[in-house]
Symmetry: none
Subunit: 302 residues, 2 copies
DNA sequence: CACAAGTTGCAATATTCTTTGCACATTCTC
DNA sequence: GAGAATGTGCAAAGAATATTGCAACTTGTG
């Protein structure tokens, strides 16, 4: 039961123990909490009490003795830490003291990314990257706030030398873009949480027209998954009402990185050209250190 | 498609969907459960209901429609499966291509985020969030690929009920926008790696006009830092040529989360309104019945 | 256009879980 | 060894959560 959950989880809990130590029963309960973090995270006070051979009341009192308002408050912390230790054992956030909304958001994103890192089948990303590299052109459909991820993906992919365009200007343009693609092209649909009607339409229509369709989604979207050849699942759960775009952005980044490695020469040339343009247009505030793009991604074991 | 072990969570839940499919609201709830397994595993029925935009009663009814006695029974199953999906497939992902560009990118982002999490002073984010909340309006300046972060920030901030606009359409519009703001307004400049000339200009000009200026940047941009009241430093190093937007996006997410907590009532009201609009405009995809094999219905917006 | 079938939200009800007052038991001190 | 102080269990009060009856609404059909 106890994996290597122990470190951050146990240390933290032990640190809450006050100077005087705990009463015998409270100590017994603490041992249960430490040794069975899973049950401690989910179970009712009564369940833990029985497990520790103490009364329910002792659970509440122990929680209070540890500095919490009551059992629910303690349990919430236990949960957060237990889950963190499950998904990101290596990071072991030290200051994860349930602080401000912003720091909670960061921590959640960190967890999501750790989860993504373990879950993601990079074979899928390679497939998509190669499809984009081979495609006549690529259209990215992304509505709502997900448009940001689509834009980033398209922007960097173009920089890498591939004709990738994001459609974010509404349904009319979307329709036109879908009408303009066909066999030999690629469409990437990005959508988390709630699915926009037009995104699904575009994906289905494109597939019917012989376009290779891929999807980036948070798995809540069978409609989109059905239309896609491959689906990349991304955790998008945020702490507030908004779904988090962070993990999706990480996937976009990974995808572009993979794409850049498909044909390094092409990418290098493209970047060099782009840089020349930026210079000519006077876009940059200062001349940066000239990067050596060919060196950056020259090592690809696969 | 991906038939990885981790999908057992989603697959399993989808398999419980009865023949006829689900009612619209039930389907909406199912999406939330699938996309936010953490919350689904821990949260109360009411919380999930709000997230899905349905009534509490629907949660209970959906659980029953899926063949469970009620929400607690469903939640218990969800928990078990979510937790095992967290801890099980760790090993597989590690070895299948540990060195591919995409997985290196992901790992780099993970590291960056961990670094950010340690370094970031949440007081700064709070300051910015409060400034935005108090401002007459807020303009976000972000050029190049950073525009994606700016867009996401603006989009979600608007959703939270604040007049935030991202300027991404070129220098002409940027000039107009800067001309239109003054004391009592806020400008947020987002720029990593290389600094666009116009971004710096806008920041300096705005500050001269009495606008509160904040900056999101990596360490390499002293010019921007000079023009800003507060600077949020974000690691943006990518594995390839491209700077990573992931950490920047995480900060945007954190900022919006903080902003949403400044005046929760206002944010709730705003989101509710927005949801009503989405509904009216028929933006969301609400087809509950995906699995019909021969049934190739053409999706029609309702 | 009206009716019927089905769906959803509201609100009262029922259930479960947590906390706390109180009494008994144990332990420590003089 | 007696008294006081502290710890613990029991059970009732209190809070939170889930369920269900009912009415209003929407959608499909004649």
């Amino acid at each position: 039961m106890t994996e290597r959950v122990t470190d951050s989880f146990q240390d933290w809990l032990r640190d809450r123990v006050p100077e005087r130590g705990l009463r015998p029963k409270a100590a017994a309960l603490l041992e249960v909490l430490l040794s069975q973090p899973r049950r401690a995270s989910f179970g009712a006070a009564a369940e833990l009490a029985q497990l520790a051979g103490v009364n329910v009341a002792t659970v509440t009192r122990t929680a209070q003795a540890l500095g919490f308002a009551g059992w629910p408050a303690l349990q919430q912390e236990l949960r957060a830490r237990y889950l963190s230790s499950l998904s990101a054992p290596q990071v072991a956030a030290e200051h994860s003291g349930a602080g401000s909304p912003s720091s909670r958001s960061l921590r959640r994103d960190l967890d999501s990314l750790a989860l993504l890192n373990r879950r993601l089948d990079e074979g899928v990303l390679r497939t998509i990257a190669e499809a984009v590299a081979a495609a006549g052109r690529t259209v990215i459909v992304a509505d709502g706030s997900y448009a940001a991820v689509g834009m980033a993906l398209a922007h960097n992919a173009r920089l890498a030398g591939y004709p990738v365009a994001a459609v974010t200007s509404g349904d009319a343009e979307l329709a036109n873009c879908v009408a303009a693609i066909g066999p030999g092209d690629v469409l990437i649909a990005i959508s988390f949480w709630r699915l926009y009607e037009s995104t699904v339409l575009a994906a289905n229509e494109a597939r019917a027209r012989g376009v290779r369709v891929f999807a980036l989604t948070d798995a809540a979207s069978p409609a989109l998954a059905n239309a896609a050849e491959e689906v990349v699942m991304v955790p998008a759960e945020g702490v507030a009402f908004f779904p988090s775009l962070t993990a999706g952005m990480a996937v976009a980044q990974a995808l572009v990185t993979q794409l850049a490695s498909v044909d390094p020469a092409r990418t290098s040339a493209s970047i060099e050209t782009a840089e020349g343009m930026w210079s000519k247009f006077g876009l940059l505030h200062r001349r940066p250190t000239p990067p050596a793009p060919a060196d950056q991604h020259s090592d690809q074991p696969d």
